[in-house]
């Protein structure tokens, strides 16, 4: 139990907690209104949005799990790089349109937009439920990330000793999210990023020096892990898995509610576009972080007795914490661990706010209290975000962490299925709401079935087609089927003259050219 390390960690944690509460007064707004609480008043500029979206994309789980994958499986873990490289051009092209139309019609969530575009509360409900369902395990995983760090700090014993720090972190997070809404994670993410950048840059300079240079580090990597395995004949093999994991994850990120929340809180689309060029700075950091997985391998931390219990409990997820403990003086380990834990709190806050926005607008207001005031909306959202976090906490405390991981793998597959409704809807009204709903259903069912058939151990499903094997991310298979079904049924329903629903939007709304 190293008290210097714990002391530094606690000091930073307390500082960030205070910031969370102070955030309520930042860029002053009426926090009893949903827009202010849930979207920061739609007033964040380029720099704050950079920090907020960075917090969306680069979560504590990312920081622990990506190096863990590289540590355990090698090159395939690097799919996070192409994923975070291509997601920005994608978002740059599509989401400004969502910003404009949401600004015009006061949409707070992606489901709000679907409701307005297709005149279909049902389709909006499907989008909202999928969003909430996919976000919850992601929050749980942030808490798992905190658990791993708590273990690394030395709080090993089972039962209350290990649970208590997590519960304290949760209570604190819940409290300032309740009072300050989106402003809290926005402000805290500034501190988080400073700490992460410092930690990663230090790690990437100091640890290779300790290990004798990158040549030596890669020399310690077994050949099988160094590169992707060449595909066998008549198969796309690991190339298919790698490329589709990257592409599918980029699509999924774009569809997650917390991305939408980050996007819609910006004060104009220029903020968004500037960030698409600036956010790749994080990608570089993620790449360097991924290399830590190989450094952990080269340093042999999994063979050191001091870390045996950590590896036993958390497997490869303990690689980065072990490496930090092994390579840095105690005080810097405190900084690094604070960086990761704060890096869990920020996305947990944003995700719970995004889920709460969905519940409030697209379930509560839609089906229970259509006449509710903005103040009531904000109240309900505050409580909803609390419940969502509490649910994630219970999940993490009561169930082995493997369930959270599996649930989140499914979450990625699920969230991709709302892409046709949201993304296509931003460009055209051609698709029938019934077709989109059926497409969603098929994508969900098939995607889930594929992951289940892999015993929830992975998400890359090898499809055998005409003698060729194509291993690809199940989210993409689901999406392809989703689009085909939606297409076919759009034609059928149109031929049957099934009702289409009212489009509340006008073409000019997507480019800010209609009269405000």
């Amino acid at each position: 139990m190293n008290w210097t390390m714990i002391g530094v960690f606690l000091a930073l944690f307390v500082f960030v907690t205070v910031l969370g509460f102070v955030a309520a007064r930042w860029r002053h707004g009426d926090l009893t209104q949903l827009q202010e609480w849930g979207l920061g008043g739609r007033r964040f500029g380029t720099v704050v949005t950079w920090f907020l979206l960075g917090g969306d994309v680069y979560t504590a789980y990312t920081f622990i799990a990506v190096p863990a994958l590289v540590f355990g499986a090698g090159a395939i873990g690097f799919f996070a790089l192409p994923y975070t490289i291509i997601v920005y051009p994608l978002v740059l092209l599509v989401l400004p349109r969502l910003w404009w139309v949401s600004h015009k019609h006061n949409y707070v969530t992606g489901a709000d937009f679907v409701r307005g575009r297709y005149g279909s509360p049902t389709l909006a409900l499907l989008v909202a439920l999928t969003g909430i369902l996919a976000t919850m395990p992601y929050i749980a995983l942030q808490l798992v990330g905190i658990e791993v760090i708590i273990a690394a700090l030395g709080f090993h014993a089972g039962g209350w000793a290990a649970d208590l720090p997590l519960i304290i972190a949760f209570v604190v997070l819940a409290a300032y999210t309740y009072t300050s809404g989106l402003r809290a994670p926005a402000l805290i993410s500034i501190v988080k990023d400073l700490l992460i950048y410092i930690t990663v840059i230090a790690a990437v300079i100091i640890i290779p020096m300790q290990l004798g240079g990158f040549g030596k580090i890669f020399a310690a990597v077994p050949h099988a892990k160094m590169l992707l395995a060449a595909p066998p004949s008549a198969s796309l093999g690991s190339y298919g898995a790698f490329a589709t994991l990257a592409f599918g994850s980029a699509l999924a990120l774009f569809a997650y509610p917390h991305t939408m929340t980050g996007v819609l809180s910006g004060k104009n689309p220029r903020v968004l576009r500037r960030n698409m060029a600036l956010l790749p700075a994080y990608t570089l950091v993620l790449g360097l972080l991924a290399l830590l997985g190989f450094m952990a391998l080269a340093a042999g931390v999994d063979k050191l007795p001091a870390f045996a219990s950590g590896f036993q409990q958390y497997k490869a997820n303990f690689a980065v914490p072990a490496l930090i403990l092994h390579s840095f003086p105690a005080w810097f380990s405190g900084v690094a661990f604070a960086a990761i834990v704060i890096g869990a709190l920020v996305p947990a806050a944003i995700m719970s706010i995004a889920a709460a926005n969905l519940f409030t607008r697209n379930i509560y207001r839609e089906y229970f209290r259509p006449q509710c005031s903005s103040a009531e909306e904000a109240r309900v959202a505050k409580w909803a975000s609390l419940v969502v976090k509490a649910g994630a906490l219970v999940f993490v405390l009561e169930l082995p962490s493997i369930y959270a991981i599996q649930f989140q793998l499914l979450g990625g597959v699920w969230i991709a299925q709302i892409i046709p409704a949201v993304a296509l809807g931003l460009y055209t009204r051609w698709w029938h709401r019934g077709g989109l709903a059926l497409g969603w259903l098929c994508g969900m069912v098939v995607g889930t079935w594929m992951v289940a058939s892999l015993h929830f151990a992975g998400t890359v499903y090898p499809l055998h087609l005409f003698g060729f094997t194509i291993p690809a991310y199940a989210a993409l298979w689901g999406l392809i089927l989703n689009l085909i079904v939606a297409f076919v049924f759009t034609l059928i329903f149109r031929a049957l003259h099934l009702a289409e629903g009212q489009d509340a939007t006008a073409p000019g709304d997507y480019t800010g050219q209609s009269a405000q």
Binding site: P89, M226, T283
Partner: protein, 72 residues
């Protein structure tokens, strides 16, 4: 406002955004060790390089596109 020529110009710049896609998703091209850079195999430093490169491309496309009537 010559929107049709503007539109064509905008679209051609946007094609640039395909470059990072192709560069990073065409896996067989970079799945190799040589040439290394300070001991890092090609596979890794190639991908790391594309982070700032794609940021540069995105910035170029963004600044070409950034005028009031260009939010399509």
């Amino acid at each position: 406002m010559s929107s049709s020529t503007n539109g064509k110009k905008r679209s051609s710049w946007r094609l640039l955004l395909l470059v990072p896609f192709i560069a990073t998703l065409w896996v067989p091209f970079y799945n190799r060790v040589e040439p290394t850079f300070i001991g890092i195999p090609f596979f890794y430093w190639y991908l790391l390089l594309w982070a700032p490169l794609s940021a540069l491309i995105t910035w170029i496309v963004f600044s070409r596109n950034d005028s009031p009537d260009n939010d399509r």
